[in-house]
Structure formats: structure tokens, C-alpha cells
């Protein structure tokens, strides 16, 4: 009896986690992929590992440490690139490694054994707490509201920032807020997929969606569906095969992407595109 209740809770937690991860990663991922910010997001992810290390060392929740590090490094990269005129990719590379170094040093300095380190690097649904799920749920609501209320403004700034500046004085504000929300999305999803793998949770679903549609709102919806399918399938496979969940999810998503890419190319060949000038 005890076992079945545990299993039931485990499945609910997994499904809710998958749902919220897909919603947040779908919204954030579409933005990141459309704006070609994948490398920046990778930098934010790894820099936030510094916050995880400091969190361990100071005995506070590592997710809070990671969130602070993630947001600060996201804004720091923008700051270094714009104000200090450091090339953006270099700024990302520096903060990427710096965050990892800080994380490793502080985890090394933390007395005692740190059993959850692997779960932060590669993700583990087993260590996802109810608080993590609630946090992801709240973030889902915030992101849905944010993107629906400011849809046009965000879309047009992302598409053509220079032009947006000719009519809008809040281009920078929107950019910084959105980047901070992206960082928060990444950090909260680290629990699901881990530092090393989370970036693919954000990038693969939009790329699956873009095989079938090229308009922004539809890519978001497609990403959420693709993300949820891949996450739950990966979750189930990992459960029955007894292999690590983060890696299984990413593996499943990539396989889905490859199959659908192949299918969409097959469809295109069968219906040659007629386009007039």
C-alpha cells in the first residue's frame, strides 16, 4: 500500500514537473532560439553552477544561489558586451568557465559528502522536491502572462531591435526583464535536466516545432507539445530501463527531432513547393 502511494505521488510529480518544464522551456526556448541566444543561454546555465556551489557551502538552497548567479550573469554578459565593449561571445565564455570554477571550488570546500552534485550536473527527477514543482508552476504562470500581455512589444524588439528604438523607450527594460526570466527558467529547469543538459530542453522543442511552422506563437505551442511528449516519454523510458532521466529525456527529444525532420523532408519532396516571384 505504502509503495503504491509512493508510486502515485512519484508519477504525479513527474507529470507536473514535465508539464511545467515544457511550458517554461517552450516559451523561453522559442525566444532564445529565435533570437539566436543559445550560446548565451549555455553561458547562463553554466555560470549559475557557481551559485549552486556557494549555496551548498553557505547552507542555503542551491536553487536560490543558482537563480541569483544565473540572473546576474545574464545581465552581466549584456553589461560587459554593451558598456565595456567586450565581444559578447568572449564575455559568455569567461562567465561560463568562471561560474563552473566557483561552483567546483565551493563544493570542494564544503565539509562532508555532497551527494546531489550529480543531480545538478545531469538532473534527476528523484531529487525534485514539491517546492521545485511549485516554483516551476509559478514561473509557468508568470511567463504565460508576461508573453501574452507584452506579446507584440517582445516580438518586435526581438525581431528588429534597432527599429523598435525608433518608437519605444523601453527596449532595454524589456530586454533585461526577458533575459532575467530566461535565466530563471534555465535555473529552475536545472533540477529536471541538469546543468549540462538543460540547454537542449530549451533548444530541441522549438526546433521540432519549426519543422512544421514558422510563426512565433505556433512555435511556442508546438514547443510545449514536443517538450511534454519528449519529457514524459523520456521519463517513462528512464523509469523502466533504469537509466538517468535527464539524459534519457534529451536522447528521446533528439530522436523525435531526427525522425520528424526526416518525415518533413519526405513530405516536402512529395509536394514540391510552387512559389511565384
Amino acid at each position: 500500500m505504502e509503495g503504491t502511494i509512493f508510486q502515485y505521488e512519484f508519477i504525479i510529480k513527474g507529470l507536473l514537473g514535465a508539464l511545467f518544464a515544457s511550458i517554461t522551456a517552450g516559451l523561453a526556448g522559442t525566444y532564445i532560439v529565435s533570437r539566436r541566444m543559445v550560446f548565451l543561454s549555455g553561458g547562463i546555465t553554466h555560470a549559475s553552477f557557481g551559485g549552486i556551489g556557494i549555496g551548498y557551502f553557505a547552507g542555503i538552497n542551491p536553487v536560490i544561489g543558482a537563480a541569483v548567479f544565473g540572473i546576474l550573469s545574464a545581465l552581466g554578459i549584456e553589461f560587459l558586451a554593451v558598456k565595456q565593449k567586450i565581444r559578447e561571445d568572449s564575455a559568455i565564455g569567461i562567465l561560463w568557465a568562471f561560474g563552473m570554477a566557483v561552483g567546483i571550488i565551493f563544493i570542494y570546500l564544503t565539509p562532508g559528502y555532497t551527494p546531489n552534485l550529480m543531480s545538478y550536473l545531469f538532473g534527476s527527477i528523484l531529487t525534485v522536491t514539491t517546492a521545485d514543482i511549485i516554483a516551476l508552476g509559478i514561473l509557468s504562470v508568470i511567463l504565460i502572462l508576461y508573453f501574452s500581455v507584452f506579446y507584440r512589444t517582445i516580438l518586435y524588439i526581438s525581431f528588429d531591435e534597432a527599429y523598435a528604438r525608433t518608437y519605444s523607450s523601453y527596449v532595454d527594460a524589456i530586454k533585461y526583464i526577458t533575459t532575467a526570466l530566461m535565466a530563471l527558467t534555465i535555473v529552475l529547469n536545472i533540477r529536471m535536466a541538469g546543468v549540462v543538459l538543460v540547454i537542449s530542453l530549451l533548444t530541441i522543442p522549438p526546433n521540432i516545432a519549426m519543422l512544421f511552422t514558422k510563426t512565433y506563437p505556433k512555435i511556442v505551442i508546438g514547443s510545449v507539445i514536443a517538450g511534454f511528449t519528449g519529457t514524459t516519454a523520456g521519463y517513462a523510458i528512464s523509469y523502466f530501463a533504469g537509466i538517468p532521466v535527464g539524459a534519457t529525456i534529451i536522447f528521446t527529444l533528439v530522436i523525435i527531432w531526427i525522425i520528424l525532420k526526416w518525415l518533413s523532408q519526405l513530405m516536402k519532396k512529395r509536394q514540391p513547393e510552387v512559389r511565384d516571384q
Binding site: S34, R152, T153, F159, D160, Y163, R165, T166, T215, Y216
Partner: protein, 248 residues
């Protein structure tokens, strides 16, 4: 008064770098000014000052708000053929020209979509309004950006080197379209192709740190050098227009 804006004793630039010095320019309704000059001479800076993207160091720019309500300036930025992979449709891009009239929580109404439809028809983009930019041709892309610039029915249209990007098959159509637009709005067009635009513009502004206004579409090499405006007069194939003679 029929003027749209008056620039007086204006200096502008970036940091300590003065790009424009003591510039004077008045643009009236229905003017069609070709802005020419060497690279780095300040042509784009002039547009940025008019658009309010950079603050002048010195001097004033007076807008006539009888015609320029809500800063109604249409703008076609310089374009590169490169990155238009962003997932956005033709009609969404054209609608973004209305953002100046909207707040940060912008909603597009049925009336706005009606305006977009009129522009789409006018520019011959009917049928591709729902297409993403990745699936249209270069000429169509240019018309989409022109649509964005004119959907708000501006009194003034600023074009930054449109000839850089326009494909030759569409070039005549493009200038023909500008002529039509010029009946209802003033146009300021940056270009380095003096030969081609001289048959379209009504006057020239030669910008090379200073600005020399030339109130005629006919301009000679001698005049250009007198204006300290070192550019080549390139003539193209059939040239029924450029008369290289001095005039009054």
C-alpha cells in the same frame, strides 16, 4: 507654414566624435530630398537625429506638429540581405509600423488589420501576407519593410540606402512607388547612387560633416566638389535624366 521640420545650427555625433557640424536644413511637405555624400560623412547620423535616436550636441530641430502628429515619421532602415530567419509573418512586420501609436501593451485592432491590408494591396504583397519572411524574395522583403514605414500614414518618410538592397527587377517599381507616395508625404532618401536617384528626387542634400542643400535634381561634378562632397557620379545604361551642366 508648410515646413515639416527645420534643423538649425545643429552639431551631432558620437562621444567626442563630431560627425555633423553646423547643419541647416528645412524640409517642406511633398519634398523629395536625395541625401548624398561619402561613407562616414554623416548621412545616417542625420537620419538618426531626425528620428530622435541621438541627441544633438548643439542646435535645434523644430518639428511642425500640424503635420507630424505623434511624430509620424516613417523609416526604412538600411538593410542587409543576411538575417531574416526570425519567425515573423509579412503582416506582423507591416503592423509593427503602428507600434508608435500604441503603448507597451499593444493590441492590434480590426481597424489596424484593415490598414495593413490596404498597404499589402498597395505594395503588391497580396497572397503572401501570412508567409514568414524566410519564404519571400528580396524584392518582396524590401516592400514589406516599406509597408512597415508607411502603414502609419506618415507625413515624412526616411529611407536609408534603399538602393543597396533593391533587386534590379523591382527597382523601377520601387521608385515608381516612391513617386506615388511622394504625393502624400515628404521623402528624405539616403543614397550613394546619385545618377539613379537624380531622376526621382526634387533636390539634393550633400552631407560631408557639413550639409549643402542643392535645390534641384540636377547636380554636376563641379558642384559636388564645391560642396566638398567627394562622390562619383555614376551613370547607368540609359540615362535620360542627368544633365551635367551648371545651372542657376
Amino acid at each position: 507654414m508648410d515646413f515639416l521640420f527645420k534643423i538649425d545650427s545643429l552639431s551631432a555625433g558620437y562621444g567626442n566624435d563630431i560627425v555633423l557640424k553646423d547643419v541647416r536644413l528645412t524640409v517642406n511637405r511633398n519634398d523629395f530630398v536625395g541625401v548624398i555624400g561619402p561613407n562616414g560623412g554623416g548621412k545616417t547620423t542625420l537620419l538618426k537625429v531626425i528620428l530622435g535616436l541621438i541627441k544633438p550636441f548643439k542646435g535645434t530641430i523644430d518639428f511642425n506638429y500640424t503635420f507630424l502628429r505623434q511624430n509620424r515619421i516613417g523609416y526604412l532602415p538600411q538593410m542587409s540581405a543576411g538575417d531574416n530567419t526570425f519567425p515573423v509573418t509579412v503582416s506582423d512586420v507591416i503592423l509593427s509600423g503602428l507600434m508608435i501609436q500604441k503603448g507597451i501593451v499593444a493590441r492590434m485592432s480590426g481597424e489596424d488589420r484593415e490598414k495593413a491590408k490596404i498597404v499589402i494591396d498597395e505594395l503588391g504583397l497580396t497572397g503572401i501576407e501570412r508567409s514568414p519572411l524566410t519564404e519571400i524574395s528580396g524584392g518582396q522583403l524590401q516592400r514589406v519593410f516599406l509597408g512597415r514605414a508607411i502603414i502609419g500614414d506618415p507625413a515624412l518618410l526616411l529611407l536609408d540606402e534603399p538602393d543597396n538592397f533593391v533587386d534590379t527587377t523591382f527597382e523601377n517599381d520601387f521608385y515608381e512607388k516612391l513617386h506615388q507616395l511622394n504625393e502624400r508625404m515628404a521623402i528624405l532618401m539616403v543614397s550613394h547612387d546619385v545618377g539613379t536617384i537624380s531622376s526621382h528626387v526634387k533636390s539634393f542634400a550633400c552631407v560631408n560633416r557639413k550639409l549643402h542643400y542643392h535645390p534641384s535634381p540636377v547636380i554636376t561634378n563641379e558642384q559636388l566638389s564645391a560642396y566638398d562632397c567627394p562622390i562619383q557620379l555614376v551613370t547607368h545604361g540609359r540615362v535620360p535624366h542627368t544633365v551635367l551642366e551648371k545651372h542657376d
